[in-house]
């Protein structure tokens, strides 16, 4: 016990950080530590897991069995058409939790503690968005199982499925940065949640997620055909079901990169300012 004790003086001469640099640097080390903390935290809040998985399952059942009969999409089974939309809806709504989590950390004083530690400044945001990405992987896999149970079948191949999920996850990751900004600006987690829904509802519902945009009034089509959720859904659909694909995939990737390019710096700035 006495052999490993570090006396107070040891820290004031050079600090702890210079002692043993990890292979990928402290920023990665710290981000992983915060990611792990967020994931542990998530598993200890069963209500969060339940709501982030039950809700999309209800959507699948509702659209398949309740509305599905009334919705006709030419040339494709509705359940096949629907599932890529549901995947996208699920991860996009999941991004709200990024904002709620950050707002909660701010309100509870955890951000204050992190800022007083000699950790990488980027780790709080990177650790939060990475943890949410991991959660998205699990949620998408779960939805895939639910989809298979109600008759969804990938029409292309395994590569298409994996690529489709990859496009979705990148889009989901970019969306978490939008809600990181919302969470850092909101005065409370409750407000962060309330602020998020009006941003998401038009994006998710006025999109090609559940119905073909060609059934919408002309003015709405203009919006629906030129927004990121439609791009992500069309790309995923193309990769999983076939048909025109490459253009949609590029469009979705462009959206994701653009959102990241705008909102990641904004989030970092908001984090620096948030007190």
């Amino acid at each position: 016990m006495t052999t490993t004790q570090i006396r107070l003086g040891d820290l004031s001469s050079g600090g702890a950080s210079s002692a043993h640099r990890p292979p990928l640097g402290w920023a990665v080390h710290d981000s992983l530590a915060v990611t792990k903390r967020n994931l542990i935290s998530l598993t200890r809040q069963p209500q969060l897991i339940v709501f982030s998985t039950i809700q999309p399952v209800i959507f699948v059942l509702m659209f398949t069995y309740v509305f599905g009969g009334a919705i006709r999409v030419p040339g494709v089974d509705y359940v096949d058409y629907l599932m890529p939309g549901i995947f996208c809806q699920t991860v996009v709504f999941g991004a709200i939790n990024t904002g709620i989590g950050l707002s909660d950390d701010l309100q509870k004083g955890l951000v204050e503690r992190f800022r007083s530690l000699p950790m990488a400044r980027s780790a709080v945001l990177a650790g939060r968005t990475s943890a949410d990405l991991v959660r998205d992987v699990f949620v998408v896999l779960l939805m895939l199982i639910v989809g298979y149970a109600v008759g969804f079948r990938v029409q292309t191949n395994l590569l298409g499925l994996v690529a489709g999920i990859a496009v979705l996850l990148l889009f989901a990751f970019s969306m978490t940065w939008i809600f990181a900004v919302v969470g850092l600006k909101a005065p409370s987690p409750e407000t962060a949640q309330a602020m998020s829904f009006p941003i998401l509802a038009p994006l998710v519902f006025a999109s090609s997620a559940f119905v073909s945009t060609s059934t919408m009034p002309g003015w709405l089509q203009v919006f629906a055909n030129h927004q990121p959720v439609t791009a992500a859904v069309n790309a995923t659909r193309g990769l999983m079901l076939g048909g025109p694909t490459a253009g949609h995939v590029w469009e979705s990737l462009a959206w994701s990169v653009a959102i990241l390019a705008v909102f990641a710096p904004l989030a970092i700035r908001s984090y620096r300012k948030a007190a």
Binding site: M1, T4, I6, L8, G9, L11, S12, S13, G15, A16, S17, A19, H20, W26, H29, D30, A33, V34, R37, I40, S41, R44, Q45, K108, G109, L110, E112, R113, F114, R115, S116, L117, P118, M119, A123, A275
Partner: protein, 335 residues
Amino acid sequence: MTDATAVDSDAVIAVEGVVKRFGDVVALDGIDLHVRRGTVFGLLGPNGAGKTTAVRILTTILRHDEGTARVLGIDVARDPQAVRERIGLAGQYAAVDENLTGRENLRLVGQLTHLPKAIYLQRSDELLERFGLMHAADRPARTYSGGMRRRLDLGAALVHRPPVLFLDEPTTGLDPASRNDLWGVIQELVADGTTVLLTTQYLEEADRLADLIAVIDGGKKIAEGTSAELKATMGATIVEIGMPDHQSADRAQHLLTGVGPIDRDGDGRTVNVNVGQGARGVLDIAGLLEGAGLVPETFTVREPTLDDVFLRLTGHRTDDVPSNPDVPLAQEGAA
């Protein structure tokens, strides 16, 4: 550490002319503070006085607008990362993750302060043991009582053994027993050589823990000294005269104005007189009241408290003074 000031090598914390504004609001209006190695420095003031702002600046969370602030000779604005390696922060705002267990919280801080794994694993257990949290080590912190949470919070500030510790209202909101408990822990840390800057609105806390006290109000330092020095500015003795009604209190106050500094309590019926010459002064007051035919309901002679000093200096009392924290120790959160 080449920029360490040779002028006052004993000043672990050196703040000179620090100003901090939030828009039009001046939170700190040119504060000077010097804290010597191995001592406890108390920042005493009401809510909104600027105490927390001062701590946030010194812990690199906020940037000040003017002046200089150094911790262990390192400028907090110029090399915040070096400061962070050497300080710990605990108190009302710094917090623990309530979904993580006590042990996980301490280990997280160990990781984020870049300690080797073997060391932070061992330190986490040592701190849990030392702060009486071992029995709850593997329970999520949300199941902890208020006192346990504060001890965990303080533990989290100590994982990397910082030589300088900032405690922002460490016992606010705690019951008297837990407060006493935490005071004991802080005194142990100081005995081990840690330098502590403590903010508090509890006069008894400053009285008990701090070697030197700065009273701040409205972002300015209005007095500084040891507890005894601050009390000495009040005169030796305070006579507390409880009159039956406002009218007679007015008359008593008028009558006794020449005897010494005088003020009235919030209830409007209690007149406090500071007398410099002990028993003589007390007799004078009794004689004057007798002569004027004023009969008080209560007549108390006592030593001045920091509360009196505070009232004198700021014109108002601290908003929330604990009635008596020295009640018998009730074991909270014990297994």
